[in-house]
Symmetry: C2
Subunit: 101 residues, 2 copies
DNA sequence: CGGACTATTCGATGACTGTCAAATAGTTTG
DNA sequence: CAAACTATTTGACAGTCATCGAATAGTCCG
């Protein structure tokens, strides 16, 4: 059994939640990691160079997903997270490039 | 006597404070107002279509200025605020365009 | 089934934030 | 100087947020 966690459609992506999601050092680092490596990647706390607990990381994934920045796939015990590069670009062209430069 | 309120130099503009400053509906509206009208503009609460008190507006101007997004000139009793369009673009090319689109 | 594993949810906590009323600082004008 | 004016600072407050430990849900494997 595999599925996708709830996320806003392209039209539902709003600038304020997106900026709020990006305006955190940890989440910005996660976005950078997603961009620099091939997608999708595991959600596991061991996969990222962040000094936070598993519950906190899970919280950050949720914030990013609900803002419309990422997609999370459920597959068995693991989660796969992917940057919604094209969707974000369609809604706010150049934003990710500008933020991650 | 005229002067400029303290603000970060171009090199000191950091992405996280910038995003934090932009991630507020009122401040985003202020940035939009600054962009759409010729600069500099007054800081007065009566000049903007926001439903907040004068102290709160003053607080928002400070957040924007300390993030490096605006410059505030002191001239007598009034303050003139200006978007640091070129500086922000030099540091994070395309950011303002992407956010305000 | 039962243990190991991945990840989330829950509850609590300390820090930060947006907001306002009141007081204050500095400037202009009468 | 005194009053009016623009704007900030201070102090307080309610709400939000990042964080963690503990508990929970669901999955895989022996």
């Amino acid at each position: 059994m595999s599925s996708t966690l709830p996320q806003p459609s392209i039209d539902e992506i709003e600038i304020v939640p997106v900026l709020q999601a990006l305006a955190d050092p940890v989440r910005l680092e996660l976005i950078r990691a997603l961009r620099s490596n091939p997608s999708p990647r595991s959600c596991a706390v061991t996969e990222y160079d962040v000094e936070i607990s598993a519950p906190t990381l899970s919280h950050h994934w949720k914030v990013l997903r609900e803002a419309g920045l990422t997609t999370t796939f459920v597959e068995g015990r693991t989660r796969w997270v992917e940057l919604r590069t094209e969707d974000v670009h369609a809604r706010f062209p150049g934003l990710l490039d500008a933020v991650l430069a």
